[in-house]
């Protein structure tokens, strides 16, 4: 069963990729995956497991964390890499299982729009969060806060 266990090497990925973008996503999935292992398992251990887990998670807890740029960058990287990694994986699944072109395009378009909105929303909230004011300043600028 040599064929069945043959790995997809980087060389093979280069040969088979239908476009340079597809090849780029092949590398992206592996590099972002490697980073996410540490980011996500670290986040899960710190926030969900030790120190009382989700029982002590409230506004004050998150606000305290986001007053430190390390956790802001950490959380933003998880948001950005996690969404792109997840969306690209979902794109592959849709491409493989949804055979009708119309449905495939509709599903992928919905996925991409949703991902874009969540990246913009998450980025705005995390990077403009002001612990002294107790909200994200961009939301105030946009008139979304009363």
């Amino acid at each position: 069963m040599a064929i069945a266990t043959k790995p997809r090497t980087a060389a093979q990925a280069r040969e088979r990729a239908s476009s340079s973008f597809e090849l780029w996503t092949w590398y992206f999935m592996r590099i972002s995956g490697l980073l996410l292992v540490f980011l996500v398992l670290g986040h899960f251990t710190i926030v969900h497991l030790i120190g009382g887990g989700i029982d002590r998670v409230d506004f004050a807890f998150v606000s305290g964390r986001w007053s430190n740029p390390l956790w802001q960058v950490w959380d933003w990287l998880m948001l950005f890499l996690g969404l792109l990694h997840g969306t690209n994986g979902m794109k592959t699944i849709i491409n493989e299982y949804v055979h009708r072109a119309g449905a495939r395009v509709a599903l992928k378009s919905t996925l991409y729009v949703l991902t874009l909105i969540f990246i913009l929303l998450g980025t705005a909230v995390i990077l403009t969060f002001d612990p002294n004011k107790g909200h994200s300043t961009v939301l105030q600028s946009l008139g979304l806060l009363k």
Partner: protein, 128 residues
């Protein structure tokens, strides 16, 4: 035995390869769905204490805590199996040891999921 066409290189017929492949997809989709929910709830922090505290308070119920344990189970498998995939993809010689690599994934999974379930299980029992 007739050689399969080259382009069918990723088709598995049973064994660890097929199961880890299926579980990788299932866990990936589950984690992505959770991620959308988690980004939506955490984004409430940007709107001030009122809404976020209401939502996280509601998250302290037993059903959400069971889902949290399920999430850990999915994320950990996807992470460890993903590392195995990356290792084999970038170091093709490792494919000769694919069975052992999968055993290491299963071993590490058990070692790490047991304390995780212990910590979250305590919270679950307290919330009943």
């Amino acid at each position: 035995m007739a050689r399969l066409p080259e382009r069918l290189g990723t088709v598995y017929k049973g064994g660890q390869g097929q199961w880890s492949w299926a579980l990788h997809r299932i866990s990936g989709v589950a984690v992505l769905l959770f991620l959308f929910v988690h980004i939506a709830d955490t984004a409430l922090v940007g709107f001030g204490p009122k809404f976020y505290n209401q939502v996280v308070h509601a998250y302290h119920n037993p059903v959400i805590r069971l889902l949290e344990i399920g999430l850990a189970a999915m994320v950990l498998f996807h992470a460890l199996n993903g590392l195995r995939i990356i290792l084999i993809d970038f170091f093709p010689k490792m494919a000769d040891y694919h069975k052992q690599l999968f055993q290491i994934v299963v071993g590490l999974y058990i070692v790490l999921i047991v304390p995780a379930v212990f910590f979250m299980g305590r919270g679950f029992i307290r919330s009943l």
